[in-house]
Symmetry: C2
Subunit: 196 residues, 2 copies
């Protein structure tokens, strides 16, 4: 049934009010935005110094207009050769990757590239604290998974095994990160428990 | 006096031969290229895991042509909020900035931004190994200078003191990094001496 314009308008307003009522939750924020906010909190409280690395871009053409800033007019996204986040906490080197999935029952391993696996192996071998933050968007749950745990599943997949890790397995090998409105992915709490 | 073409040609050849004779030195390579080559050597020998962070770019417009890679058509260089290089060596967090100067007698402190000073202070306070690699291009000498040494000069300049650090002072507070054709800025040798 089609409503006249007025009704449609009111319908939309009602929906938008409903949306506002749940805006205190963390729904809709991307994992990256949540981690950046958390890192900012850690930094301002002087708890840890952890930053996201810039997106790797191959710069091909740059214009230098008079009296204004240089403009990149041709560039391409490059595949990252390392993880996205690193830094220092309690004298320890911290290194992690963040991934989110829309799946409800599994985390597809194709999300992680070979370069990143190699990098995580290097960091673990040299004594860093290395992990992944994996968010299942349908549940808004973010799990802390130690790199070496996930790496073994990745190699299994490479040898012809399952191409994904079941949600239940992630729940099992991982640790649910607490949500706090200022520390939206409070992964230091997990590190404290596991390493200190 | 102008020579006929033939002579000019021979003259150029002589020069070019002379240039070839000294091509075993590290003249002409940028500090960044030298450090990247050194880090690559460390990585392949499994000595340390240290990477340059990508150049921070603010991406404004992206084109998604059919059947080919996304093209960034408008982007701007952003000022780095951290140092350029970091990673892990012997379980320790490593963090450094690289700067080169054409000056023969001094290193201008305007080369280092406040954000970077703050970041270096943070890293030092949290127990990382933090330093600068400063190259005097006229001498092709690269000095390892501990972050806290340089930071004190930077604050002096802020309070109205000298806006640069004399070359002789850098020689005094810093450590000349050894040059090796594969490890062109062998800074781990200095770290071994100072921290282990």
């Amino acid at each position: 049934m089609n409503y006249p314009n007025g009704m449609g308008g009111r319908g939309r307003n009602t929906q938008s009010n409903k949306k506002n009522n749940i805006s205190f939750s963390n729904r809709g924020m991307s994992l990256e935005a949540d981690i950046n906010a958390t890192n900012e909190y850690y930094l301002t409280r002087d708890l840890a110094v952890i930053h996201k690395k810039p997106t790797p871009v191959q710069i091909v053409k740059v214009n230098y207009p008079k009296r204004s800033a240089a403009v990149i007019t041709e560039g391409y996204f490059k595949q990252a050769s390392t993880t996205d986040y690193n830094g220092i906490y309690q004298k320890r080197h911290i290194d992690f990757e963040a991934k989110e999935t829309n799946h409800k029952t599994r985390f597809p391993l194709a999300n992680i590239h070979e370069h990143q696996i190699n990098h995580m192996e290097n960091v673990v071998r040299h004594g860093g604290i290395c992990f992944l933050l994996i968010r299942f968007k349908p549940y808004q749950e973010t799990y802390f998974v130690k790199a070496d745990e996930l790496i073994s599943y990745w190699y299994d997949a490479l040898k012809g095994g399952r191409k994904s890790v079941p949600y239940d397995t992630i729940k099992n090998i991982g640790y649910l990160t607490p949500f706090h409105y200022l520390k939206r992915v409070d992964y230091l709490r997990i590190i404290d428990r596991l390493y200190f």
